[in-house]
Assembly symmetry: C2
Homo-oligomer: 307 residues x 2
Amino acid sequence: MTQRLRGVLSPVVTPFRKDYAPDAQRFVRHCKWLLAHGCSGLAVFGTNSEANSLSADERMTLLEQLVESGVPAAQLMPGTGCSALTDSVRLTAHAVKLGCAGVLMLPPFYYKGVPDEGLYRNFSEVIQRVGDDRLQLYLYHIPPVAQVPITLGLIERLLKAYPKSVAGVKDSSGDWNNTKAMIDAFGKQGFEVFAGSEVFLLRNMRAGGVGCITAGANVNPHGIDRVYRGWQSAEAEALQAGIDKVRQILQSQSSMIPALKACIAHYAADPDWVTVRPPLVEQTLEERAKMVSDLLAAGFDMPGIKH
Amino acid sequence: MTQRLRGVLSPVVTPFRKDYAPDAQRFVRHCKWLLAHGCSGLAVFGTNSEANSLSADERMTLLEQLVESGVPAAQLMPGTGCSALTDSVRLTAHAVKLGCAGVLMLPPFYYKGVPDEGLYRNFSEVIQRVGDDRLQLYLYHIPPVAQVPITLGLIERLLKAYPKSVAGVKDSSGDWNNTKAMIDAFGKQGFEVFAGSEVFLLRNMRAGGVGCITAGANVNPHGIDRVYRGWQSAEAEALQAGIDKVRQILQSQSSMIPALKACIAHYAADPDWVTVRPPLVEQTLEERAKMVSDLLAAGFDMPGIKH
């Protein structure tokens, strides 16, 4: 078992060429920038990575390119949860084999209203079929998008059956009480809770969580990491307020992923970054101009992003 | 272009072995039974097929096995719409190459609240990348599950851009007014509307639709086909009432797919049929006994299903 990841993880946005093919070169560059500017790990192939708009083969190829380019697998927590059990097993086994620190697993998300027993079987099958002690599985609770939740009862059952493999959770419910309940129920057993947004980072650290895995870390890893490192300091509240301001600008956009990409395009002076894969649509020029103006007015910067 | 499919299509349930591997032999047998007992076509890999619990490779392999076993491709309308554009293109091109009559395409369903522009780009990219005049694309509107809708505005735009490829729709909204609106808006342009449940079949035929693609056809193809063939007859209402009764029993179960499989398992005297892939869970013995008793009381049978 490698060292468990803690701190600030970014669900890295995936750059595409104009023909929607993944752009490995820009991807590697952005991953290295993130690790150099505050991210302790990279939750590649998350929701904000448009991972569910990529085929399993595309994801595996990109992950290999990342590791071959020198990004340490020990800092990677790729998303590997798919609708199809067989895809989830394949991606998870691949990530473990590459030496990734962990995997972040969505529940199967097509069928709605499924019983916890069915979700238990899904995760249980993945763990058993991968059959590798190195597997560190983080459950991914994001009901606003996946619609299929990871309940406390499901976590309890999985932890009981697989205490060494079930490592933690990313809670993207947006409901702090739920995050707190997860920490309170399972934190003492070594189950590690990441907040799903930096707006909960300080509260999460104070309650016994281990960090955050957040879209905002794509553009503000330095700011968010300062809150993580300084959560016990006198400036903690002020630092938190600072990252909240940036998050609020991003979150007020019509769609988060195009906003993150437009933000990188602007600060990196690299316009091709704006491309998103269907069904998403890039920001309009007006939306982008307004967002950038708001970010500049807030004193926001992305140091070292320009190549 | 092959003859367009009309009448009763079944989204064929996919049998699994105990280890959740697809069971090609049982699948072929059920497909042949359906075609011999009232189905004019097979919408394999639909929602009720647990298609989204299968990998792209598993779907392609099963489709090839079906065609190789003598099921005519001209009677097949496989589901090929995935979350990932690249998967949708791959499955669609494969189905067209095999000579399938059409494909039934879900919108990309992971990201919610996406703009019609993004959905338009998704379908447009698939049509252009497949680049084959034989493609007959049926849009699959199932908001209760996919959560991402196919709006009238989207259909209008796609029909205008690709009048020869965009063939029709399956409306599984459960909202008859929506189905009627689709027929009224686009029926005259040759856009063919299938009801998503047999309960709307008679209404759909009277309004100018072309049939239904319905879960219930997995077990009651003969009954539903009688409504289709007899919709202008004096018995139409009575026939419709008969299939409604069976549908109501199936729909009152806690989950439709396990119910369909348990029904086949009972009437075929083939208990292994009950297996579903996670995240679904099979019926309990009590649920199954009650359902079968209700079906028997309603005089329901599946002639010729026993081997």
